[in-house]
């Protein structure tokens, strides 16, 4: 079986090669490595054309390249701080700073969003930064949580107004303390003293807010 298979394969190949006119020894040996990166040139390249127009074009090209390098259209990144700060730096227009554009395109023809506003130094930004984490924290609360909290708050407010009307001072105080002690295991001492002293409506409400979720 195996022998026959091989025979057939070989036969087909031989026929194909024959049809193309390839004899037995004509096929080159198999290549086992990739071709070289810089293969040797079989023929030397012809010299470049030269003449007045070619030379002039070359000069034109080099000049054009040179002017483009210095043109405001050549955009560089903000240059790094130099070795020393020079007095003259202040008076040199740094047209390649990121927030300044060196040429004046017609803004009518460009999308509005591309317009670069020239900004002052970003001093104000530093002052704003510290507030960020807080706002983020509040944002992190899920929608449901907020809703729940608001509901509780509402509920509390209602009950408290009722309490206020009915019992005024005495009962309310005791109740509050009682809840505090039960709910918050740690720091009860402080809370107790704190609430004893600063007995205030607003504070009460705050406290109720904290207690909310337990209800």
């Amino acid at each position: 079986m195996a022998g026959r298979g091989r025979g057939r394969g070989r036969g087909a190949l031989a026929v194909a090669a024959e049809a193309l006119g390839i004899g037995r020894g004509d096929l080159p040996p198999p290549t086992l490595q990739p071709p070289p990166l810089f293969p040797p040139l079989q023929f030397k390249p012809v010299p470049l054309l030269s003449g007045e127009d070619h030379d002039y074009m070359l000069a034109l090209k080099q000049e054009y390249r040179g002017t483009m390098k210095d043109s405001p259209h050549y955009i560089k990144a903000d240059s790094k701080k130099k070795d020393i700060e020079r007095y003259s730096d202040k008076y040199q227009m740094n047209r390649n700073s990121d927030s300044i554009i060196g040429f004046q395109p017609d803004w009518e023809r460009l999308p509005q969003e591309l317009k670069i506003r020239v900004r002052r130094l970003h001093k104000s930004r530093a002052a704003v930064n510290p507030t960020l984490p807080i706002s983020r924290k509040t944002k992190a609360l899920s929608h449901e949580e907020i809703e729940k909290k608001l509901q509780n708050l509402e509920h509390k407010e209602e009950s408290q107004t009722v309490e206020e009307n009915e019992e005024e001072k005495e009962g309310e105080e005791e109740e509050e303390e009682y809840y505090d002690e039960i709910d918050e295991e740690e720091g009860t001492d402080y809370n107790a003293t704190y609430f004893d002293n600063g007995e205030d409506f607003g504070l009460d409400e705050d406290d109720a807010l904290d207690d909310g979720p337990v209800y």
Partner: protein, 530 residues
């Protein structure tokens, strides 16, 4: 749009507009339509940097933007226009041959800035011309006339107003500007007489004092108003390509026939410039009588000679000119398609000859002539020994210059009962060579950048010394000893190195330009076939 094209495009962008533009440009080429934020996010650039880069790309007509209904603006860059950057010197040079120095400077100024107001161009070019020619002055009106010439021959074109991004529904009608309007000189520039010029002169004086204080190169007074504000001009690349193509045909005729034949063809092409569609493959028919009248008197070609030349060109094997009728002394057309095709074939043939030798060249020409040939026939017709012919043929086959068509006699595709026909697929070979040219150009630029980078210290130093020497010469206080001393700061071996570098850079750039010429011929053929 292949990887090679993208590589060349990004190298060209970096060379002309710096690294940031390169990053944004090649990102947009690779990924197509993108919004501003996405570009900034993916390229890791600051938003302002991306903004600036996009401004540059849009003003240089390389990027376009479209706004969607939801108000998001998408940007895209076409790789084709970026690749034209390597052809800029040729554009400038061809205008110089047509319109002289003023035309050259006008086009150079516009290419450097992408798009400009006519009044600005005229003023700048006049300044530059006056700087160059110290002995005589050039009037602004002279430059303006040149500008109007360039516009009337369609080398310059108005920039189409972009769709306003406020509402995108109106855009369809707005962008479809009439063809004629593209070449209309604004009224304000046409009638601008002495009054406005006087006013401008006084303005200039005003600014003269201001300029001393501010940086003169970077800041132009933004509040200053122009009579033609809002009408920007840019170069019409299609027109330039048409001109370069015509020039190539004329050159070919002058090589094949002679100068007089070339002049006749030039006249015919100029006559048809106005009447024929630039993309047409045949020009409009012209009678020999018309041609005779259009020929410039200076050439002094008598009528019988003209007829002889026309007959000669029409009978020629390359078929640049066809005769289509007998009336009016014979009616002729120029077959632009055939002309470009034979130019393209000539380029390919010379590549084959230089790469594979003259025997391969013979086989290749044989295949072009006979279209489809079996291997046996190739050996016989080329009169090359069988073994050698096979080797050469397969060598070309492996490099994709030659393709094979299988024709089975039986449906089982058995190799013994199949014809293998070798042929040349011109379009495919063209595209393959085009890719190679792009690769070559990219490699040339990369090599040049590498060489200059390696020697950057030496270059900087020599530039500084040259500047000092020039300054001392200008002030006339530099005594020769001092200059010599300064020039000795660069040692002889360093000077030798510098000279070598300069030589190499020149050679590399020259090759870039000449590869570019090949690219031009190949692309015009490929575009015509499509």
């Amino acid at each position: 749009m292949s990887n090679i094209q993208i590589r060349l495009a990004s190298l060209l962008l970096r060379e002309n507009y710096g690294e940031i533009v390169e990053k944004v440009g090649s990102y947009l080429i690779k990924y197509g339509l993108k919004a501003l934020r996405a570009i900034a996010l993916d390229t890791n650039l600051k938003l302002d940097q991306v903004r600036k880069a996009l401004c540059v790309l849009i003003t240089h007509n390389m990027a376009k933007f479209t706004s969607t209904k939801r108000g998001i603006i998408y940007y895209q860059v076409s790789v084709k226009t970026v690749l034209l950057l390597s052809r800029y010197p040729r554009y400038i040079y061809s205008v110089k041959t047509l319109y002289g120095d003023a035309g050259e400077l006008i086009v150079e100024e516009i290419l450097q800035n992408g798009q400009l107001l006519m009044s600005k161009v005229v003023r700048k070019v006049t300044e530059r011309l006056n700087e160059a020619l110290e002995d005589r002055t050039v009037e602004e009106s002279f430059v303006r006339d040149k500008f109007i010439d360039l516009v009337s021959t369609h080398f310059l074109q108005r920039v189409v107003n972009p769709p306003s991004d406020i509402d995108s529904t109106v855009t369809e009608s707005e962008t479809a500007i009439e063809e004629e309007d593209l070449y209309k000189i604004p009224e304000a520039m046409k009638i601008e007489g002495c009054i406005s010029r006087k006013r401008r002169r006084s303005e200039d004086e005003d600014r003269g004092t201001k300029r001393i204080r501010t940086d003169s190169t970077a800041s132009e007074d933004p509040s200053e108003s122009f009579p033609d504000d809002g009408v920007y001009w840019h170069t019409n690349f299609d027109r330039f390509h048409q001109h370069l193509r015509d020039q190539a045909i004329i050159d070919a005729v002058s090589r094949r026939v002679d100068k007089i034949g070339a002049e006749i063809v030039r006249t015919m092409l100029r006559m048809s410039e106005l009447t024929t569609d630039p993309k047409a493959t045949l020009t409009k028919p012209m009678s020999s009588h018309e041609i005779f009248h259009a020929l410039s008197r200076e050439l002094n070609i008598p009528r019988p000679t003209l007829d002889q030349y026309l007959k000669l060109l029409a009978d020629d094997q390359i078929d640049f000119i066809n005769k289509t009728g007998e009336s009016g002394g014979g009616i002729y057309v120029i077959n632009i398609y055939k002309a470009i095709k034979s130019l393209c074939i000539a380029h390919i043939e010379s590549v084959v000859q230089e790469r594979f030798g003259s025997k391969c060249y013979r086989i290749f020409r044989l295949l072009l002539l006979k279209q489809h040939l079996e291997q046996k026939q190739v050996e016989e017709f080329a009169m090359i020994p069988a073994k050698e012919a096979k080797e050469l043929l397969y060598q070309m086959f492996s490099e994709h210059f030659v393709s094979v068509q299988e024709i089975p006699r039986t449906p089982d595709h058995a190799p013994s009962r199949t014809f293998y026909l070798f042929s040349v697929n011109l379009n495919q070979v063209c595209r393959m060579l085009l890719e190679r040219c792009y690769k070559t150009n990219a490699n040339l630029i990369a090599r040049r950048e590498h060489d200059t980078y390696e020697n950057r210290r030496l270059l900087e130093r020599s530039q500084r010394i040259e500047a000092v020497v020039a300054a001392s010469l200008r002030n006339n206080d530099g005594n020769p000893e001092q200059t010599a001393e300064l020039e000795e700061m660069i040692t002889p071996p360093e000077r030798a190195q510098l000279n070598k570098l300069k030589h190499n850079v020149n050679k590399l750039e020259q090759s870039e330009l000449q590869v570019e010429e090949t690219i031009f011929i190949l692309t015009s053929y490929v575009q015509m076939v499509v």
